[in-house]
Symmetry: C2
């Protein structure tokens, strides 16, 4: 990728709509735009001020392609930090293609995925973690994932990492300076101060690393396995939860064709409900093939919901006992996993039958997905399993696997530095570990980067961003 070329791409989603935006960025953006754009007022585009909008026509020679608005952003005051022209045209596929083709003929080239944001990073408009947040922001579909991306884009923990990195860099320089005066046995770097910094860094790194588990589920949605036989009322339950929230439902084909996931946003948090079937009431089939799959799904889930048709249990002590055996099996297999046991269809039971049920099975939630009874309580229960305190308090949460890896590696190096300090390691050896920790810090914010790393990150972007 040559970064001095002028790039062009459609910035709005593909397809026909009222308007579409085509973005040109680079040294020749204004020149190319001026060649194909004629303003209605007769003004020359390149002589106009930055951040101004001009009505005119995009023409290929004499042929008018469209009436458009051209918006001018002069470097460095643009998204990429380069000269940028955005054409807001009528949203026909044909017009979009014609204008892009015209820009290509005039010397622009097609932008690669994420290249506008890559340039923003290379031109110092944002650090690497902020650039990565742009992709997360576009993909966000719940309040939680949106807020995480927004926090990260507005600086998030990278400003803190940057500050710590600078302090650490300062100490590294002082320690390396000592090496030049090795024979004089001086200490430029105050070891007490340095110990304090290392303690502080260790604390920050650990809490950031801890936040990843929360961050990951908030970003991607909380996986909830719904266990139970077919027809116990799973879809009625999902619809009931939906009606509470008027939230997004979508069918995501799972990794295997036989798993369908429903995503529901409740209280701003995405929940991915993993449908599992296979548990049978007879204990002898519980180790069967279907059950194996059910356990696999439970493995992936953060929360397990065990749904039972209460009319099948009512006044049938044998069925109740079988059900209790199943509950115990799950509890034994996943002692740490939150389990919600729900008796559905209680609207069809007498109050005596309900009493018998609740006295036989501990912690049983009563629900009628049909009438809505117990739905609100279930929702609260699910939300309580998610520790959203950190999110609400604007605490820093790590959501990006790359950052998580770099933080783990940085912590490893910092712990080596700590060991070195404890054992009175010599400055030259200490310096090596510090440099390595600095490297991983730099990888997060992009102060240290290479083409491969950048390629990997920006390949996940959409074209036009």
């Amino acid at each position: 990728m040559k970064h001095n070329e002028t790039i062009v791409a459609l910035a709005t989603p593909a397809g026909a709509g009222a308007i579409a935006v085509i973005r040109l960025s680079g040294e020749k953006a204004i020149e190319i735009a001026s060649e194909i754009f004629t303003s209605v007022s007769g003004k020359v585009l390149r002589e106009q001020k930055t951040h101004t909008v001009h009505l005119g026509h995009v023409k290929d020679g004499e042929r008018v392609i469209d009436e458009v608005l051209a918006t001018l952003f002069k470097n460095p005051n643009s998204y990429t930090g380069e000269d940028v022209v955005e054409f807001s045209c009528h949203g026909s596929n044909y017009i979009q293609q014609e204008i892009i083709q015209l820009c290509l003929r005039k010397g622009a080239r097609m932008a690669q995925a994420g290249e506008f944001t890559l340039r923003a990073f290379l031109n110092g408009k944002m650090d690497l973690s902020q650039a990565e947040a742009v992709a997360d922001l576009i993909a966000s579909d719940s309040e939680a994932s949106h807020q995480l991306a927004m926090n990260q884009m507005r600086g998030g923990f990278s400003s803190e990492i940057k500050k710590l990195r600078e302090e650490l860099l300062n100490f590294a320089s002082l320690i390396e300076l000592e090496l030049d005066f090795a024979e004089e046995d001086v200490e430029f770097a105050n070891r007490d101060e340095f110990q304090k910094l290392i303690t502080r860094i260790t604390h920050v790194l650990k809490s950031l690393i801890d936040s990843f588990a929360t961050g990951n589920v908030l970003k991607n949605g909380i996986p909830v396995a719904i266990v139970g036989e077919p027809n116990v009322g799973k879809s009625t339950l999902l619809n009931a939860l939906l009606n509470e929230e008027r939230a997004i439902v979508s069918d995501i084909a799972g990794t295997t064709r036989d798993t369908i996931e429903d995503e529901i946003v409740m209280g701003g948090i995405g929940f991915r409900f993993i449908d599992t079937a296979g548990i049978r009431k007879t204990t002898d089939t519980i180790e069967g093939l279907g059950i194996k799959k059910t356990f696999e799904k439970m493995e992936q889930a953060q929360v397990v919901v065990f749904l039972v048709d209460s009319t099948q249990l009512a006044a049938d002590s044998e069925a109740i006992d079988t059900f209790k055996v199943e509950i115990e099996k799950i509890k034994n297999k996943y002692p740490q996993k939150p389990l919600v046991i729900i008796a559905n269809k209680i609207d069809q039971l007498t109050s005596n039958e309900i009493s018998l049920l609740t006295s036989s099975i501990s912690n049983l939630s009563l629900l009628s997905a049909k009438t809505g009874q117990g739905v609100e309580e279930l929702k609260e229960k699910l939300l309580n399993f998610v520790n959203t305190g950190a999110l609400r308090n604007n605490e820093t949460i790590v959501t990006n696997t790359r950052h998580y890896d770099a933080l783990l590696k940085a912590l490893e190096e910092i712990l080596k530095v700590q060991e070195g300090l404890d054992s009175g390691l010599s400055g030259d050896l200490l310096a090596i570990d510090i440099r390595q920790a600095l490297y991983y810090f730099g990888e997060i914010t992009g102060e240290i980067s290479n083409d491969e790393l950048l390629g990997n990150i920006f390949a996940n972007f959409c074209i036009g961003k």
Copy 2:
């Protein structure tokens, strides 16, 4: 619909993309935008100049929803003629929805389909036929349909209609004035001049009406029926045509499930290839059920391509005779319809076999969809069937059924006026027919409109335009 309310809608296609544009229009557009937008520079939005762009944040109270660019258009210098603010935000579904919801809470309402363009019409930014062209422009997917819409949007024939209407209106007033002086037997309206005008109007109306047939096919694509047995090489042929042009292919489900149409843009003109099957080589089945369908398809087509597998005919005079009978049947049934007879797979024939074939069947086109031989010639042949002279010469072409109907009705009234002139009809009776013609002229440009008419027109628009 209240036109003094402030409306909001997503103007870019739905879905996630790099950016999305949300458009606010109306009296309170700037007020609402100022309430939710805080510029980074601290500038107050409402104090800024029209056609300027400002970087800032959309906030719901203290919660930052997104970093956006806000573009200001002050009335009357906007698309709608009203105050308009466009937010260019990150293209996440969540953000789009949040910003729109926020605008709704601050007093805007959701725009209805085409309402921005409706307001542009009501505020005199464009006439009705220009407004209709906006929808055509967005739907255009070939050079021909794009140019037709573009011509119409830039004035097209409506300026001519407007001018004729004014002249006619002038005469109508003079004739009506005569009625006030009926006893004095004066003629304010020069009858010779009036006759000239009526002749001119008749000529213009007739040529516009004639252009509709061309306009309609150019706008919607030329329907081409491909007749022939399965496996004669239809899809290879379509692919060969495609490779020539790298054009758009799409599968459009036809009116019945068993008809699939391929659309290919060649030389800027859309062709809809209607796949027909059913013709059998034995003459006795030609009247069968499958054949009936084939004839139905041919009926709808503007051009018929009869494709035959030449290897099936080679050195088989009986098969050739049967084929010739079929050709005659089609020619007899559709004497006016252009017919292209193509022998495919000629790469598998010897030159002797080819000679025999061309000498037996007149006007036979030789083709090898596989090697590409004859493809260019076929393309030229198809393009020649379309009279694009009018298009190339920027002649006015009517494409809109509503305009066509109004033109037909206007012509009818003008012919009545002509009759009246010929028979020396009295001024008061003449005036009635003139007024009626004026009414239909006005319907085209929108000088005469009513809520029902406007409702019908703008309901076909997308939301956000």
